[in-house]
């Protein structure tokens, strides 16, 4: 009989232990699993809570909904840059091929490529983004450079006092066919 076999426990022997303290191996393993599972779960929840902590509830940012003046303040065929600094919008009055109507629409000044602010080049009648050279027509449609989609438009309606009201909280995307929706465009 070699030494290896001697070390093997006899197969049919039963280990008798104090029944009060006895924890079977299987029971121990399952409690261990529950314990570690609970610990992992608690850690995950804490991690998620810490992550949530980094997302503020209150923002100190300019209001999203504002009035920009009466429709007649905006000239036909002109890209109005006055609201760029204050509200981050361009207001265009003129013919809109998307709805085949004439009126006012409000473009976001954020380039759809990487979020720079394009410049309006009057002589070339286009918005040109300084970051990667994306070009947009007056309507907001992209036609050159890396921008993957047209500029976004914001909700524009006539307020009760007759002023043009813009809501940046609601945006309309051309590629989703949203420009034809009623509030994407203000018929004048």
């Amino acid at each position: 009989m070699d030494i290896k076999e001697e070390l093997k426990p006899p197969q049919d022997s039963v280990v008798v232990e104090d029944s009060y303290h006895m924890v079977t191996r299987r029971g121990f393993v399952s409690w261990l699993t529950v314990g570690w599972g609970a610990f992992a779960g608690a850690t995950a929840i804490m991690g998620a809570a810490f992550q949530r902590f980094l997302f503020p509830n209150v923002l100190r940012e300019p209001p999203q909904e504002f009035k920009i003046g009466f429709p007649n303040d905006f000239l036909e065929g002109v890209v109005d840059l006055r609201m760029q600094d204050k509200y981050g919008i361009w207001v265009v009055r003129g013919f809109d091929p998307a709805t085949s109507q004439t009126g006012i629409y409000v473009l976001s000044v954020i380039c759809t490529h990487l979020g720079c602010t394009p410049t309006w080049l009057e002589s070339e009648a286009k918005f040109k983004c300084p970051c990667h050279g994306s070009g947009f027509y007056k309507t907001g449609i992209n036609f050159e450079g890396p921008a993957p989609r047209p500029l976004e438009r914001f909700r524009v309606v006539l307020a009760e006092d007759g002023q043009v009201q813009v809501d940046k909280g609601k945006k309309f995307q051309y590629e989703k066919g949203e420009w034809t929706q009623p509030e994407a465009f203000l018929k004048v």
């Binding site: 990487l114 300084p130 970051c131 990667h132 050159e144």
Partner: protein, 358 residues
């Protein structure tokens, strides 16, 4: 002089610069034993120095290179260039020693020496040299400071910090989700995976070239061409509107590049079949999706049977798949570049509805 500048400006396009760099790189990889010889390198250095002096006589180039934030790029180019040559020269030297059964450079100095003073003094001298260098640099060049931040006025051109300009240059060819998120992620993951997908036990702990030609070529292509070269292009040759300018060309914000890029789907449905884009997205982009899936899924087994046959036998299945995926991802940039230059291709798969453009 003026004529030479014009010629260089005319010659310098992203296409020519990228392709000629790749060609030089390939030649160097092929004939490294000759390229690293002083007889070759001394003329290269002389030409580089003379070329730089010539270039600096141009006002525009001078201004660009001496911008405070561009100084580090010059230092980076000089050091990366020097150390690349130095490491490869040592590698070639060790290759020669191995083939002649002589001990490696590193094996000749196999004594154990006392850390104090041998190593500590080297570090001490290095530290003093770096400090002196930094102080002179700081006195010589003021840190840049422009007008106060104004979120509504974008400077033209607006550039990321110089070490990310390679990624910004990549944005010309890929959408942000690829160029800005997926590819940087793959670079990091790929670098970390490197020790696990390089099965070659040779070249461990000493400079070498011949035994590791493939992996060195892989790494150097990524580092020198895809990273450093793109930084240079992005810094010195991308002007207002991210338009491309020759090294001696004034940055004119009104430069018009009459480039209208088209998608593969437009090329297929509108130009080729002349029936207009189908409404169904999957049908519209079907060909592009098949091409991309084929590139990522069907190509690895094909590579395993052909050019990577030996590698496939050395690596396990999973390692080979990972290696192939990283390799193909890296290769996708030159492929996309060439497609852009030749057929003005914008996207292979264009689903802007879900921001999914490849």
């Amino acid at each position: 002089m003026e004529a030479l500048r014009h010629t260089i400006n005319a010659f310098a396009t992203p296409t020519t610069i990228y392709l000629s760099s790749v060609a030089l790189f390939a030649i160097a990889m092929w004939k490294m034993e000759i390229v690293v010889k002083p007889l070759v390198m001394i003329p290269v250095v002389i030409v580089t120095v003379l070329g730089t002096i010539f270039a600096l006589t141009d006002d525009h180039f001078f201004k660009l290179v001496t911008l405070p934030d561009n100084i580090p790029i010059t230092i980076m180019l000089a050091t990366v260039g020097y150390f690349t040559w130095y490491a490869l020269k040592k590698g070639v030297e060790n290759d020669k020693r191995l083939s002649e059964n002589r001990p490696l450079i590193e094996q000749e100095q196999d004594r154990r020496v006392m850390t104090w003073p041998n190593l500590v003094y080297i570090e001490f001298i290095c530290l003093i040299a770096i400090t002196v260098f930094l102080i002179f640099w700081s006195i010589g060049f003021q840190a840049p400071l422009e007008e106060p931040a104004n979120p509504t006025v974008t400077p033209n051109p607006a550039k990321a910090p110089w070490y990310f300009l390679g990624l910004q240059e990549m944005l010309v060819y890929f959408d942000p989700w690829l160029a800005g998120v997926v590819f940087p992620g793959l670079i990091v993951v790929g670098l970390m995976a490197l020790p696990y997908i390089d099965p070659n036990p040779k070249g461990n702990g000493y400079y070498s070239f011949k035994d590791r030609r493939l992996v060195i070529g892989y790494y150097l292509f990524g580092f020198l061409i895809q990273w450093v070269l793109l930084i240079v292009l992005g810094t010195f040759m991308r002007g207002p509107g991210w338009s491309f300018f020759g090294p001696f060309q004034e940055w004119d914000p009104h430069k018009v590049e009459a480039l209208t890029n088209i998608n593969l789907s437009e090329l297929l449905w509108v130009k080729l079949l002349n029936i207009g884009l189908p409404k169904n997205i999957l049908l519209r982009e079907g060909v592009g999706i098949v091409v991309v899936l084929g590139y990522l899924v069907a190509l690895p087994p094909l590579l395993a049977k052909t050019i990577f046959k030996k590698l496939y036998q050395e690596l396990s299945f999973i390692r080979f798949q990972i290696m192939c995926f990283l390799f193909l991802a890296m290769l996708s940039l030159p492929i996309k570049m060439i497609l852009r230059w030749t057929i003005n291709l914008k996207y292979i798969v264009a689903i802007p509805e879900f921001f999914f453009n490849i």
